[in-house]
């Protein structure tokens, strides 16, 4: 009898540490990060400099020297990421993992038409004809809620608004159907109404296509509303892991502090509580 092989988790990371050189030896910016996830929505929350973006970048092999990435285990759907060659990384990026960055103004190529930028991943990873590529690009643009895909396909990034640009970016990441999507502050350059539309779209696409999602943000309430599980990072370390539905019961003083310092109805004219940081949090 053959033992049924268990389905490996989508992403399995253990003991991920990223260091950069500093005057007094190597400075760890991510310390002992661990995450095992399936096709679910994970939120990583923390303030500037907490290491959340570097964590995402190291999953994509995008940390350049002098930065150094080490991990006890780092696997993506059965592929070992710790021993990948540059060619191996290129096969994974875009094809298996897509990344959405903060501001479409800086992350889309300003001198290339949107259509060409969306087709780029298809050109690199699949051997399909031009016509089929175009068809898929238009189909994906339609899927991200763009009403006139033909116009956007021909447009340059500066001809699109922030929300449209971010939709085009999501389309570029989805077109080759990756298994995992990493969104690094995907909505913080957008205004509240557009932010809501883009989040709803991401939510819809991720559940419809059954993708795994890592959403990185400093906005704890937003992440809580959107994700299944939340990791709270402080000084490169995950200080608390909590189910989004149980955020109100979070007990780490840092998580509580992040929630309490937000202005809310009834706080008017009063002083807001501020975070008093504790050196012990870095050890926890």
């Amino acid at each position: 009898m053959i033992e049924p092989t268990p389905i490996p988790p989508l992403l399995d990371v253990e003991g991920l540490t990223v260091t950069f050189p500093a005057a007094e030896g190597r400075l760890p910016v991510v310390r002992d990060f661990a995450l095992t996830m399936g096709r679910e929505k994970i939120g990583i929350v923390g303030e500037s400099g907490s290491g959340k973006s570097i964590t995402a970048r190291s999953i994509l092999g995008l940390v350049r020297p002098p930065g150094q990435v080490t991990a006890r285990r780092m696997q993506l759907g059965g592929t070992d990421l710790t021993s990948l060659t540059p060619k191996g990384w290129r096969d994974i990026r875009g094809k298996q993992v897509g990344m959405i960055l903060q501001d479409p103004k800086f992350s889309l190529n300003p001198v290339k038409r949107i259509g060409g930028q969306i087709e780029e991943t298809l050109r690199l990873h699949d051997s399909i004809g031009r016509r089929e590529r175009r068809r898929r690009a238009l189909e994906t643009l339609h899927a991200v809620g763009i009403d006139d895909p033909e116009r956007v396909y021909r447009a340059f990034p500066h001809e699109l608004s922030g929300g449209m640009g971010q939709r085009a970016m999501i389309a570029a990441m989805l077109v080759s159907s990756p298994d995992l999507l990493i969104a690094d502050e995907p909505t913080s350059a957008l205004d509240v109404i557009v932010r809501e539309q883009v989040l709803r779209l991401l939510d819809h696409l991720v559940s419809q296509r059954g993708l795994g999602l890592i959403l990185i943000s400093h906005d704890l309430p937003m992440v809580a509303r959107f994700c299944d599980r939340i990791l709270v990072m402080y000084h490169g370390r995950v200080v608390e892991q909590v189910r989004a539905s149980e955020l109100h019961a979070a007990n780490h003083p840092y998580t509580r502090g992040l929630l309490d310092c937000l202005p809310k109805a009834g706080s008017r004219g009063c002083m807001l509580p501020t975070l008093s940081r504790d050196a012990a949090w870095e050890q926890a």
Binding site: E47, S48, S161, G162, L190, D191, V192, I193, V194, R195, E196, H218, D219, L220, P221, M222, A224, R225, A244, S245, E246, L247, H248, A249, G257, L258, L259, C261, L262, P263, K264, A265, S267, R268, G269, M271, L272, P273, T274, L275
Partner: protein, 258 residues
């Protein structure tokens, strides 16, 4: 009825000229009384920052009538220097609004010297204390400061001249939530100590609800609704755009469990 300190009547603001002209703000009307904190809210491109630039005397391509802190602003020309002694502005991005080659001391004393203040040394020290930085920050450069500390310097630069009007363009949106709380607290304490009128631009309704007395909501260059902040907090709004704005920001500020 108190005499308004900021009165804006039928102001239209433009970018570019001739056929390239873009109509950024359409017939805006505002009357802001002394010591009030007034909020301008709207999405990207709604014209809120543009209107603020006109009030700050930083943009001249407009028509209509506007008076700020006792000075009638003239369309198509920038106000005289003494205007800026009474009206000061704090910008959104503390990484871009401080000269990287100047020390904090020079950033703060330049304005005081320009407006011929006496005892510049003493005033710089006082204002640094007031924004919670203290003397040890005096001879640092901006790159040696965190985002929150830089925004404190920008606020110190503005209040050092003891202005009547403080214009704030999204002063906390580039900052982390915990730092935002510190800056908002600083603004509350400044308002308790000084007779200052504020105009606060933001797209974050929770922040606006926390600091403002009255609010104008802008969409595509027009003011679509004016309301008391209590009505905003209680969701008593009329215009469909205000409703949309409220429901979108409600979702992003109120977590599932809270």
């Amino acid at each position: 009825m108190m005499q308004p300190l900021i009165a804006v009547q039928d102001v239209d603001v433009f970018y570019g000229r001739g056929r390239q002209r873009f109509h950024a703000v359409r017939s805006a009307n505002l009357a802001i009384t002394p010591r009030e904190t007034f909020g301008l809210v709207g999405g990207s491109g709604s014209g809120k920052s543009t209107l603020l630039r006109v009030l700050a005397g930083l943009w001249s391509n407009w028509s209509g009538s506007a008076s700020v802190a006792g000075t009638m602003l003239q369309p198509q020309r920038l106000p005289p220097r003494h205007f800026h002694r009474h009206v000061q502005m704090v910008f959104q991005d503390p990484y871009a609004s401080l000269n990287p080659r100047h020390t904090v001391d020079r950033i703060l004393s330049d304005g005081l010297q320009l407006h011929s203040f006496a005892n510049v040394e003493g005033r710089v020290a006082d204002v640094l204390d007031q924004v919670g930085l203290g003397a040890r920050f005096r001879f640092r450069y901006p790159h040696e400061l965190s985002g929150g500390q830089r925004q404190r310097v920008a606020i110190a630069r503005a209040i050092a001249l003891e202005p009547d009007v403080l214009l704030l363009d999204e002063p906390t949106s580039a900052l982390d939530a915990s730092v935002q709380a510190e800056i908002l607290n600083l603004l509350v304490s400044i308002r308790q100590q000084r007779q200052v009128t504020c105009v606060f631009v933001s797209h974050d309704l929770a922040v606006i609800g926390h600091v403002c007395d009255r609010v104008a909501i802008m969409q595509k260059g027009s003011i679509v609704e004016r309301l008391e902040v209590d009505d905003l907090v209680a969701h008593r709004v009329q215009h469909p755009y205000s409703r949309e704005l409220l429901s979108a920001s409600d979702l992003s500020t109120a977590g599932r469990g809270t």
